[in-house]
Amino acid sequence: MIEDWWLALAFSAGYNTTLVTLGAMLLGAGAGMIGAFVLLRKRSLVSDAITHATLPGLALAFVLIGVVQGDGRWLPGLLLGAALSAALGLWLVQWIGTRTRLGEDAAIGAVLSTFFAFGVVLVTVIQSMNVTGQSGLTGYLVGSTAGMLAVEAKLIAVCALVLLAAIFVLRREFLLVCFDADFAQTQGINTWRVDLLLLLLLMAVVVIGLKVTGLILIVALTITPPVTARFWTHRPSRMVALAALLGALSAYLGVTLSSARESLPTGSLIVLSAFAIFLVSFLAAPRRGVFASLLAHQRFRHRVHLRQGLLSMSHNEPIFDGLTLKLLRRAGYIRRDGAATPQGRAAARDAEHEERLWALYRRLYPGDALHREHAGLEPIARVLPPDAINDLEQRLPPKGEPA
């Protein structure tokens, strides 16, 4: 089983598997990229509505094609049907959200479940019809990459490539609108049209992805990689590129894993790969990850304790807090018995002087001080320019008087 996976990872598990892997990777890249814009626009769950809204169109197309040619399985026709009903669902979400007082949450939920329900009704119609290829339809629910024909894989790959190119060409407009819609408007960009374009491309990704991950799980490919990318960078353009990369990586891992054994569902494995990458990033990303945040919090706490300890020392107040004592001892500011070392006395004097400078600064420029996060904790020389500090020194009242 492991060997099979290695073969697939090295793209040498046969022509069809390789083709499917490449197609899924292109799709993952497209989904990650468009999903990043959608995340920046704070509309992640719209893709949830779009996905579920494809089912009735899919089923209806299946019925029509089946009536005409006896077999409902004709991928381009099915995708067209899915796209049309997804577009209708999308329009309804927009319409309910803007024309009634219901929130977007209710609009999304209502559209996704009603459309899906109607799709289920149509599926039962199909089951009682006399057309072949019915079992192929269930593949669209949870994906059926394993049963994919080479022609289908090629079609998906080509569509995904075109899509990727389209997103790449439009990336500037998208970024501008996502970053600051009002500013984009002043630059002569029609925000409404860009938003519509964004959603149409999202819809295209969803529709093409149906066959790969299935209609319930494609939504994961548009949400998880962008959220993951967000942990590694805060530059929007880098985030979009990274989301594309992570989407492709998830698809690569998922498809190859599922080809290792017969019964493994591809869609689920792609989604779970994406989640595994998310989990690692969530915990270990250097700036926004949980570990990094915990460390930063710890450092901040230590700095506050050390500073309070030094201030207490300069006022000759006793210190009882265990952590403060430990930190002071570790820095060599006090001895084991608690008496201040010469170093410690100097540091305490500095700390007190700095505290007085900060106090004066806060009194003279209260507005500025508000904007500086943790003003008073950073060494003042790192925050203010030298001439400003000089100025403060000049105006500092003699010791003993309040600043």
């Binding site: 319409w95 939920g109 329900a117 493994l264």
Partner: protein, 307 residues
């Protein structure tokens, strides 16, 4: 009549009870703009049920309820952790969570299917209301015949229990629920514990979703939560009236949807029956559409009184 007793009485009653229960809770979800919690919770019922089956080896209702309840709790904790610790926007946190857990459910299901488990992905998604046949229900007399009543499908009793539980919950906590729905900061200031009420509400949604899961499937239940309540929201400005309207809409959807699915097409001369759960949700969606087009309060502001 005998056919009705045997084939339709139980499914219809179950459908009505589920619709009423979900719609009751849906009122608060819609008001709090938390409708999508029902989306997330109903997707993760699948992994919960599969996991509990794999662990306990039974499909006894208690084990399944527990499994799904635990998975709902895991979901809520995961969403909050991702949102707070990762500083991720709430809807994205929800998306990451429920898609991953749902994928895990499908994976578990497919892998265990190889070892002979019979939970069907399709039934998990679509539900299977029609299978609740009461074989001993041979006539009106069966309703007072103890031996026949014992053979009632167990789902009926389960759904009825959940309906009662939810009703009691809403009655007991009605003041807290109303307060939290309109002004959670004020609620916190008078120690109404909005966070606790939130959690309880989510738990109730999970319980209702699980009860509905087997009968109507995991996605259609979302419509039962949102559509009647949202439609009622567009009809009136009074909370009491809104709840009443939502119950009416739920009842109409359940009855007419069930009837359309079973006999509607036969009346049209086509001999086929359709997914009852799907039809009920479709009718609920149509009612919402009508309310969006002509509801008297469809555009009003969020003013809502408690009278």
């Amino acid at each position: 009549m005998n056919d009705f007793m045997m084939f339709s009485l139980v499914p219809m009653t179950v459908a009505i009870l589920i619709s009423l229960t979900c719609a009751l809770l849906g009122n608060f979800l819609v008001l709090r703009r938390q409708s999508l919690i029902s989306d997330a919770i109903s997707h993760v019922a699948l992994p919960g049920i599969v996991a509990s089956f794999l662990l306990t080896g039974t499909i006894a209702s208690a084990a399944m309820m527990l499994g799904a309840g635990v998975s709902a709790l895991v979901t809520v904790v995961m969403i909050e952790a991702i949102r707070r610790l990762g500083r991720v926007e709430i809807s994205a946190a929800m998306g990451v969570t429920f898609t991953s857990l749902f994928a895990l459910g499908v994976l578990l299901l497919e892998v265990s299917q190889a070892s002979g488990v019979h939970i069907d992905v399709q039934h998990a998604l679509y539900g299977n209301l029609e299978s609740l046949i009461w074989f001993e229900g041979v006539g009106l007399a069966s309703l007072i015949d103890p031996t026949a009543l014992v053979t009632l499908p167990p789902q009926l009793a389960r759904v009825a229990m959940v309906a009662l539980l939810v009703l009691v919950f809403v009655l007991v906590f009605r003041r807290h629920l109303i307060l939290g729905s309109f002004d959670s900061e004020f609620a916190a200031s008078i120690r109404a514990r909005p966070a606790l009420i939130d959690l309880l509400l989510v738990t109730m949604v999970a319980v209702a979703a699980i009860a509905a899961f087997e009968a109507v499937g995991s996605i259609i239940v979302i419509a039962m939560f949102i559509c009647p309540a949202a439609a009622a929201r567009l009809v009136t400005n009074h909370l009491g009236a809104q709840i009443a309207w939502s119950q009416l809409f739920a009842l109409v959807s359940a009855v007419s949807g069930y009837w359309l699915a079973g006999s509607g097409l036969i009346w049209l001369g086509l001999d086929m029956s359709l997914s009852a759960a799907g039809m009920i949700a479709t009718v609920a969606g149509l009612i919402l559409l009508l309310a969006c087009l002509w509801g008297p309060q469809r555009r009003g502001h969020a003013v809502l009184s408690n009278a």
